[in-house]
Symmetry: C2
Subunit: 345 residues, 2 copies
């Protein structure tokens, strides 16, 4: 698929026009477009512009209600339950993480469990949001069944992306990972190129581990990270999200990606700066920054497998890539980009 | 190593006598012994009785101060920071999870970050504690460097066990997993038996993935779960624990297991029953129990790889094994069991 680079502002405004055509209005339209554009800007190409056509399809088929806003339905002073009313998943998730951040800044700790929402697109978005607001955060979502439990051949788990984010002045540390070794988007890309995966990504029809992405697409037997361990973690994330939100669990969701609506998510934020000595709050921040720098330096200092290529920390590449994409233009797939103005027009 | 079965009460009282000889007193001695005994009872043989000799060595070498009690050093109404004063790790962790549970029962959500503590032995202990108290919990610990980051050959990460636990009347769901595919204890057991690991567990000296446990023990290159993903998650867990606790990070800890002291941990508890409709609180509990049952049933219903052996959920075997070990006697290694009375006597 041929690519071109477009200025970020142009990408954002084209998405803004498209979002307005979908029926979003005002600040909600602007935010929705910005989140899609920033995802592509940050190099998560599967969940930015390239994901927009599916988002538009789900507005068209009624799974995403563009007029619906998330609503607090209950809670204590620090743990709230919200209903997403099947509105746009990225707007719902953004609102709930913002709320968790506000609760954490007031209390040290705050959480929002969200039910009845839609795909949040790039999960890392909400980690970056928290880290840039100066707090630590953990969030996750459940998904439709797309991953067999360890020991089974048919999907019963979701790949349930998990995000952990830490604030750091020199650049946040943000982990954004699904519970399958590779996403179905990545498998599709390798299959299309006929390229072997860099590590086994699932089972073929004969039940053998394979690096053949097309064989895994055919068997639908993606590999959980850490085999039985990721299988267990995926189950726990689903169970926590659905129980805390009072929402739907993976097994209750449609297996059709275009009908995957009503999912459950959980957002937790922590603000340890509230533990600082009131006489010298700056000391706490300095110590935390030094600690994080030292941890990251220790990872960089490990002997690399490939000389000159030190191990990286989660999110390390994002700021470089962001800067490059802002400077050179954001890479977009020509076909998706050229089709964008005709979506919903 | 030959084994025998001893009645649980006999195991607990032998451990109690040994703990008293170490200098613990009163309820602290009884609790410390009970936690070691229950770990063996539940089938986590590496971290119960078999771990006790190393615990005693660390009391002897001064790394574990049996007289030290954990202390709250700061906090908000829901996020507290405690100092373990290098006391017994299982007592410190037990106290901090109990505190997080109390905070959650009052506020819906509560967390304790603990610094300056020691190895907590079986991490699942604190998950079971929370689940049996009727709340959801997440906790983790950092460890000494024992895992190379993805892309490196020397340890810079810990294997940082992570626990998630959910309450359920029919039996809690408890995940207790380290960030390496196999623990060094498991590797040692396979190496001793000359048996191949059931999946690649690390790299040999040539840098090839291997199922040869002895080769991994020699290279010290265990495999993070999910390759780059578990590597990233391990880093985040260390970073969160150390920053939230204001404590030491993995890279600051000794690589000598007998000097691994001053570690950092994090305990989070959640009580969604506070979100119940006050007019009918029982309905919330019933719906939650039904939801969990349905999630677990969906995992059991997935087509098994081996006919008649359905996929299992985390902790599923524990209650069976516990019942069996209480009925038949708890399996112990004869040599460790016979040596126990001479430790510190």
């Amino acid at each position: 698929m041929s690519q071109l680079r477009v200025p970020f502002a142009e990408l954002e405004s084209a998405l803004h026009r498209a979002v307005l055509r979908l029926g979003l209005t005002g600040e909600r339209a602007a935010l929705c477009a910005r989140l899609f554009a920033e995802t592509t800007r940050d190099g998560i190409y599967t969940h930015g512009l390239n994901r927009f056509p599916r988002f538009a399809q789900m507005v068209a088929n009624g799974q995403v209600d563009v007029t619906a806003e998330p609503e607090r339905t209950g809670g204590t002073t620090v743990l709230e339950r919200w209903d997403g009313h099947r509105g746009p998943g990225n707007l719902n998730a953004y609102a709930c993480m913002q709320r968790a951040i506000a609760l954490a800044k007031q209390n040290g700790l705050g959480a929002v469990a969200l039910r009845n929402t839609n795909h949040w697109m790039r999960g890392g978005t909400y980690g970056w949001l928290a880290a840039e607001a100066g707090v630590f955060a953990v969030c996750w979502t459940n998904t439709m069944p797309n991953l067999p439990p360890w020991g089974a051949t048919t999907p019963a788990l979701g790949n349930n992306p998990l995000i952990l984010a830490a604030p750091r002045k020199a650049g946040p540390v943000v982990l954004d990972m699904a519970m399958s070794q590779f996403s179905y988007g990545t498998l599709a890309a390798y299959a299309k190129r006929g390229q072997a995966l860099p590590a086994p990504g699932g089972f073929d029809a004969q039940g053998n581990l394979t690096t053949d992405a097309a064989a895994i697409e055919a068997s639908q037997r993606a590999l959980p990270i850490g085999l039985w361990k990721g299988s267990g973690l995926s189950l726990m994330l689903d169970l926590f999200a659905a129980a805390l939100a009072g929402g739907l669990a993976t097994h209750q969701l449609s297996r059709d990606p275009l009908q995957e609506s009503g999912i459950s998510q959980f957002f937790l934020a922590l603000d340890p700066s509230l533990l600082a000595d009131p006489a010298d709050p700056g000391a706490h921040d300095r110590m935390q920054e030094q600690l994080l720098d030292a941890i990251l330096a220790s990872v960089h200092a490990a002997d690399p497998v490939t000389p000159g290529r030190p191990a990286r920390y989660p999110g390390e590449q994002t700021l470089h890539l962001r800067e490059e994409n802002l400077r050179l233009g954001v890479p977009v797939d020509r076909e998706v980009w050229e089709r964008l103005p005709s979506i919903f027009s």
